[in-house]
Amino acid sequence: MNIEDLRKVHVAIPALVEDLERGRLGRRDFLRTATLLGLSAGTAYFVAGKATGGHAVGPVRAQGEPRKGGVLRIGMSVLDISDPAVYDWSEKANVARQIVEPLARVGSDNITRPHLAERWEANDDVSEWTFHLRRGVRWNNGDEFTADDVIATFERWLDPATGSSNLGRFSGLTITEGGVTRIAPGAIEKIDDHTIRFKLQRSMLAFPESLGDYPALITHRDFVRSGGNLIENPVGTGPFLLESFSVGEGAVLKKRPPSEYWGDEVYLDGIQYLDLGGDPAAQIAGLASDQVDLLYTLDIALLPAVRNMPNVKVYEKVTAIAGFARMRVDQKPFDDKRVRQAIQACIDHQRVLDLAYQGLGVKGEDHPVSPIHPEYSELPALVQDYGKAKSLLAEAGYPNGLDIEINCVADPKWEGNVGQVIAEMVAPAGIRLKVNILPGGTYWDRWTSWPFSVTQWTSRPLGIQVLDLAYRSGVPWNETGYSNPEFDRILDQAEATLDVGERRELVRRLQQMLQEDANTIVPFWTKIFTASTDRVQDYEYHVSREQHLEKVWLS
């Protein structure tokens, strides 16, 4: 494999290799960007290995030969999965992804790999993507998987009536005229049964990454015609079949005949999801008495208890999951930037991490780019300064302090802790912050409308993804109401920049803009944990808690 071969894959790759050799680019960043641009993961590892002189090995497998058989029992909330396009909880996608699959998949190492797509190419300014679909893939009703399925799924996503978050995710494929949003003409072009070309209105580097996000599972072309309900018609390309499903109780999946599935044979005979309710005591009790094998997630409050249990393994992962304590910039008193900056000046981020989350993570800088993202650059540390806070408040017209409220969700508990700690920290500046703990149903009903609240954002592979989903003007998940044309312009530019170093510079400016605007306090980035019994082998905990179970086996 020489430089010319690499250049054929994408023009930018040789430059990346050189950066890697010169040490200007980290190995992880190289792997990430190269795979994004169409280089296969195996080749990328090989090239990286040669460039850095080390061994090019992939993730290490566990000891012991995998054994076929057994049913994996997972303790997780079982929610309604009838329409994959409108999934808003990762738990929903976890059940569904065993049945229906995405075009690309983000691995537990944060690297995106082809899945239902075999490979992809981008044009020079990354505004056109050509996807080559895998051949020989069959739906479990016998139909062949073709471009028609993908196009039908995209058309559903991009129709505002569906109410899918993918409309914002893939907004580059749409145009808005007279208040109506629709697919841009020629945006999705079927080249042949296994090739599709996507033409975006602007550059989008993270197109494959976005296809790996949990609401982007591909449904059959007749999904709507056959009732639009995955539970009643679980037609999918995945390695498992849905046997039974009951919201709030459980789901049972069984192995599909291996010859019908396009991938390697899975080891498990079946998977059983059990909804243990919201009480964490029930979750660890279930693990201890061997009634479940694996938990979806583990509250950090339970860590000490679980670590002491014999026959139980604990998994941990540093993520880009964080609680964003965000303020709506269009509601009093937060519409005045000085008020927001005053609040920001009261916060000691490391202390919030220590108090609210037992120090299990890294401190944040009040913008949504995490240290695990390739575009991250460290900004000068934010310092707690009550003098500055008080003078800003006085300037804004609140010399006697301020009375405000913050809303937190009851579950996970640490969000309430964050609210409490922030309330304590702003008190010396004369800000009286009342903390409201709301149950999930109430909070998530109107989560974008609360003046000041804590929202948990899941981990995404690239920093620009959250910037795009949450801070671009007018997108559905923009919960601060932040609207800055200059920000949007630089974001567009960043999404077209292949060179990681250059992109990092652009993203640095975005980081600074958001930090200065102080519309979101990001006190820390969390580590997440889960636990399983000793029997579960080769389970890799994912940064976004996705469950990829094809290689898991029970000893």
Partner: protein
């Protein structure tokens, strides 16, 4: 007697009616809120209005109330927003589950507490009485969520004798009922025991018991044949009222052991603002409360010939 029965039934119906109006006013009058719950927050105003019209929410509330009541009486409680199944079926299933748990608890708790109460009360002030009273007060003071954790730790983690959760994932498994039942029995028996003890002690002071003892009847017979029946009157009504507690008060235990019962349903419905589930559960809870009260009153007249309600 019949008039008395008739009057009680009428009171029951009037109470239910009043409660149903209250539930309706609290939850169903505001059609917008219902629409938001059912359709989700991202639906446009237009679609919300269409839904409200299609489901008759734009008519005067008195008309809607009568219709709603009619539906409730014919068993149609609507469809659960969270669980996406008809509430009636869900309710029946969960009630049955809680019923099983309640039956087991009652079957163990009632004989146990009566026996302990009799033993304590027949010789008031004795060493046996003091220790039984002490244990009763102690166990009643420990809240269910604390004893649930403690018992799970002892029997599930440490000794490993019992399963830690009671999901009944593989069909009905009586072993999974033991821990939740134990927690409930431990919490509930103290109260009945002490009622029984007080009642027994009072009866043992009466003249006819003294006469029986003086006559030379063996003490066992004095207790079982003469004192017990009279002493049972007051605790009996208390026991019937415990049925009410076993329906909705058990939600902490159900939640802790992942037991899919009525209490867990109400809690999940309330936390996620599942309107139809909340309505149904509220009505059922009040019905059970009122029904048990009525049954207790009627039973009381039978047990105690000295009382006469005409």
């Amino acid at each position: 007697m019949v008039i008395f029965l008739g009057k009680r039934l009428v009171y029951m119906l009037l109470t239910m009616l009043a409660v149903s109006i209250l539930v309706f006013l609290l939850l169903e009058v505001n059609g917008e809120a219902v629409a938001t719950k059912v359709l989700g927050p991202y639906i446009s105003e237009e679609q919300r209005r269409l839904w409200l019209e299609a489901n008759g929410y734009l008519r005067p509330w008195s008309v809607r109330y009568v219709e709603w009541l009619g539906r409730i009486l014919s068993g149609d409680f609507g469809e659960s927003i969270v669980f996406k199944v008809p509430v009636a079926g869900l309710l029946a299933q969960r009630l049955a589950n809680t019923g099983v748990l309640g039956a087991v608890v009652l079957a163990v708790m009632v004989p146990l507490s009566i026996a302990l109460g009799v033993l304590a009360g027949m010789r008031e002030g004795s060493w046996l009485d003091r220790s039984i009273s002490f244990v009763s007060v102690l166990t009643t003071s420990i809240p269910e969520f604390a004893s649930a954790v403690l018992l799970t730790f002892v029997f599930s983690y440490w000794l490993g004798w019992l399963p830690g959760i009671s999901m009944m994932a593989e069909g009905f498994d009586p072993v999974q009922l033991i821990l939740p039942a134990m927690v409930l029995i431990l919490y509930g028996f103290g109260y009945i025991t002490r009622m029984m003890r007080a009642s027994m002690a009072e009866v043992m002071q009466t003249a006819y018991i003294r006469a029986a003892v003086l006559k030379g009847i063996p003490f066992r017979h004095v207790v079982t044949r003469h004192a017990l029946r009279n002493a049972l009157i007051a605790p009996f009504t208390v026991i019937i009222l415990q049925v009410n507690w076993l329906l909705s008060g058990v939600l902490v235990v159900e939640f802790a052991f992942a037991y899919k019962g009525f209490g867990a349903l109400l809690l999940e419905g309330a936390l996620n603002q599942d309107i139809y589930v909340i309505e149904a559960c509220a009505l059922v809870s009040v019905f059970v409360a009122v029904a048990t009260q009525t049954v207790a009153d009627i039973a009381y007249t039978y047990l105690n010939p000295r009382i006469r309600f005409t």
